[in-house]
């Protein structure tokens, strides 16, 4: 026993981390798609956060098609990207925020720090550019300066912000916001909520209460319930979607922070398992850093193609 193998490990890791930092590199040139090559492909997928199960399934599919054929790296990666594109295309649906309702109510939920408030700022900006009138509701009455943060975003987008003091009841804030949006004839109301971990029953109940109160005023609302996911999140995203989905009827996803090196591959597993629309991706901290989710681009990004 002792630390000897650990020492070897330390030395080894130095290499692996640089391998990672520079990307996967040339795992294959033109050669037979043999067991080893398939394992390398699987590794590539695992490292993009697809999760071991999805990675195994996808690489097995490729193996079935082309096993023992002479292929080159680009070819195989492209084939996999195509496969993933096919999987993701059905969920790539931009957010229209259009309904007969006035206002069209969008509730934004998610775990702490995933990018909810920033995404609301970006959405407000985009909707205003489309000529819509937008109102924001500062439903995060818990976190320090969350209200101020949303007010800055409202100011940037030119959207009024309905707010109460910190510590106020978020459900009654949502209620007031809908009434004000009605009074002012706003087209869209974007409601921010405090970040919460999905395994906290009391906080999830609080969110359900917000939902109930909104439905008292308009039983068709909220017309969109957006779950904001951080692309750096690994397999826990599956739990997030499952619990938020069943507790507050999530209608679609937004994935943030795709401007980093995280590939957000868990989206593939999410698409397979839940099939929820992916409306948009965040690619920065500025108001115009929001893009519609494009299945092909995303899939090629996953495979390190551009």
């Amino acid at each position: 026993m002792g630390g000897s193998w650990f020492q070897r490990l330390k030395d080894g890791l130095r290499k692996t981390s640089s391998r990672l930092a520079t990307g996967i590199g040339d795992i294959f040139t033109k050669r037979k798609l043999d067991a080893e090559a398939i394992e390398e492909l699987e590794d590539l997928l695992v490292m993009a956060d697809l999760g071991p199960a999805t990675a195994a399934k996808l690489s097995a599919a490729i193996a079935e098609e082309r096993f023992d054929k002479e292929v080159d790296e680009a070819e195989v990666r492209t084939a996999l990207a195509d496969e993933i594109t096919t999987l993701l295309e059905p969920v790539a649906k931009p957010l229209t925020a259009e309904s007969d309702a006035n206002p069209h109510v969008v509730l934004v939920v998610g775990v702490n720090g995933s990018g909810k408030t920033t995404t609301i700022g970006k959405l407000a900006h985009a909707l205003k550019s489309d000529g819509k009138s937008v109102m924001l509701a500062a439903g995060d009455t818990f976190r320090a300066a969350a209200i101020e943060q949303l007010k800055v975003w409202g100011g940037r987008a030119g959207a009024p912000v309905v707010a109460k003091e910190q510590g106020a009841d978020s459900a009654s804030l949502a209620y007031d916001a809908i009434e004000q949006a009605r009074a002012q004839g706003s087209d869209v109301l974007l409601i921010d909520t405090a970040g919460r971990l999905h395994n906290k029953a009391d906080l999830m109940d609080e969110l359900r209460k917000v939902l109930r109160v909104i439905r008292k005023l308009d039983e068709t609302a909220p017309h969109d319930v957006l779950l904001v996911l951080d692309a750096t999140t690994g397999q826990n995203a599956l739990n997030q979607v499952e619990v938020f989905g069943s507790m507050v009827d999530v209608t679609g996803l937004v994935v943030t922070k795709l401007d980093g090196t995280a590939k957000g591959g868990v989206l593939v597993a999410l698409a397979e398992r839940f099939g929820l629309p992916v409306h948009a991706v965040g690619v920065g901290e500025q108001a115009d850093d929001l893009r519609p989710f494009a299945a092909r681009d995303f899939a090629r990004g996953l495979m390190g193609l551009d």
Partner: protein, 478 residues
């Protein structure tokens, strides 16, 4: 969603009965499951690969402890490897069987000329500002330090206001905001205020930044150069996926980290990122964020996070306790007796004592995965430590002759025994009945092997007591 690792390893390894040393082929198979478990826990793939290679080398040839299954044994080796990688103290050289012990938390380094500077860095939204408040509060309240906080985040809307509010909540002063001042200058001003104000610690909260954002990485490197911090803490989300390696490595290369704080440990993520980051930076994980409130801060314990990453209940402590409490020879002797159908009250007493040491039947079952239903039964039967002790007392007030020949215990003897143990006759009767059930079971086990044991155990619980499965002696299962 997934079975726990030990359940899975259990099924992989049931094929190999206790055959002494673990063979390479056994271990290979087990490692496939370990790999999956680690990947599902978001440990980065390169780290998984290296880890598996190390553990495999360690496991092949190891003797399986008599009182545990090979599956449990492998889990234990994997766990010890994880603890060691996470910063647990390695077992001393040559100290066969020593544990990779739990490591106490590594303290925050406050060395150097006061004020000591703590620089908080990390990706956007990882929890830097909140954690700044938490650490400041702890240093002030627990360690009686005079702490000043300053926000260098001039980008995120209301970031400086956020830290100010947190300071107000915690009763920690914050550096007044000067509109338009840039991060390096804010840091200089904070240091000066810290020096003149007689502060022990100055905490610098920085803006979230991507590790690939060249401009912002340069900025934080410049802040570090000016502030000369005794602690550069990477604040990272416990939910982070495979990217953890790249993030931690870049921050370490560019800024030079001294510690890691893992946030959102109150969530249900398995937290494999902890292993990835620790492995790639060699920086200790110093603190855990376990909630949004400012006092929701905990010290890091390698063994707890290791158990969480493996997602496996507490098989490890089962193995450890079994090793501590069971003498191999005793087990051997008992096995022989059982095979001959000679289980007597002395054996029962020693079983009861061992069970008590292992936290009672409930405690024992609590450590075993996949026995949820049985736990209920145990609860219903109310087999607690007190009961075990009383039963031991009853047996110890018998004569050796009575213990070895329970048949001779009739009315008058019962009365004497009850009196000696301070128990009622009914309790003595109950114990004897249990003994009979157990003895019958043991006979069956001796004949037919261990398979019925688990089933039988459930049946015996109505009376309480019984031989816990992990304690089944080697000879008894064949």
């Amino acid at each position: 969603m997934f079975d726990s690792l030990s359940d899975r390893l259990g099924s992989v390894l049931t094929g190999l009965k206790r055959r002494g040393a673990l063979k390479e082929s056994d271990v290979d198979q087990a490692m496939r499951d370990v790999r999956l478990a680690l990947l599902e826990a978001d440990v980065a793939l390169p780290v998984v690969k290296d880890f598996i290679a190390g553990v495999k080398a360690e496991a092949v040839g190891q003797k399986v402890l008599k009182s545990v299954t090979p599956g449990q044994m492998v889990v234990k080796i994997v766990h010890d490897g994880l603890v060691e990688m996470l910063g647990g103290k390695p077992a001393a050289e040559g100290d066969e069987g020593a544990e990779a012990a739990d490591t106490g938390p590594e303290g925050i380094n406050l060395s150097g000329e006061p004020p000591s500077v703590i620089l908080m860095v990390g990706l956007q939204g990882s929890g830097k500002t909140t954690s700044t408040g938490k650490i400041a509060k702890r240093l002030a309240e627990r360690d009686r330090k005079k702490v000043l906080m300053a926000s260098l985040d001039v980008y995120r809307p209301a970031a400086q206001e956020q830290l100010r509010v947190l300071g107000e909540q915690a009763g920690i002063p914050t550096l007044p905001v000067v509109e338009g001042q840039q991060p390096v200058d804010i840091a200089k001003r904070a240091l000066q205020a810290g020096k003149f104000g007689g502060y022990d610690v100055v905490m610098l909260d920085t803006a979230g930044r991507l590790h690939v954002d060249e401009g912002l990485m340069q900025e934080v490197a410049a802040v570090k150069a000016h502030a000369n911090p005794s602690e550069v803490m990477l604040v990272a989300d416990a939910m982070t996926g495979q990217d953890a390696v790249a993030v931690a490595d870049s921050f370490n290369q560019r800024v030079g980290l001294t510690g890691i704080m893992l946030t959102r440990v109150d969530g249900d993520a398995r937290g494999g990122a902890a292993l990835s980051m620790r492995a790639v930076t060699q920086c200790p994980i110093k603190l855990l964020g376990v909630g949004e409130k400012l006092d929701e801060l905990e010290d890091f314990h390698a063994d707890r996070i290791a158990g969480r990453i493996l997602g496996m209940g507490d098989v490890v402590s089962l193995v450890e306790r079994a090793r501590d409490t069971i003498e191999a020879e005793d087990a051997e002797k008992l096995a022989k007796k059982i095979q001959k159908g000679q289980f007597d009250l002395e054996d029962m007493a020693s079983q009861l004592a061992q069970m008590r040491k292992m936290g009672g039947l409930e405690g024992l079952l609590g450590m075993m995965p996949g026995v949820g239903k049985m736990k209920e039964q145990v609860k219903a039967a109310n087999v607690n430590e007190g009961l075990l002790k009383r039963q031991e007392a009853i047996i110890s007030s018998m004569t050796p002759h009575e213990r070895r020949n329970p048949k001779v215990i009739h009315a008058s003897r019962k009365q004497r025994i009850a009196k000696g143990a301070g128990a009622s006759i009914q309790e003595v009767n109950k114990l004897l009945k249990q003994y009979q059930t157990m003895a019958k079971m043991m006979k069956k086990v001796g004949k037919s092997g261990g398979k019925n044991l688990m089933r039988g155990l459930g049946g015996m619980l109505g009376g309480g007591g019984g031989l816990p499965p992990g304690m089944m002696p080697p000879g008894g299962v064949r």
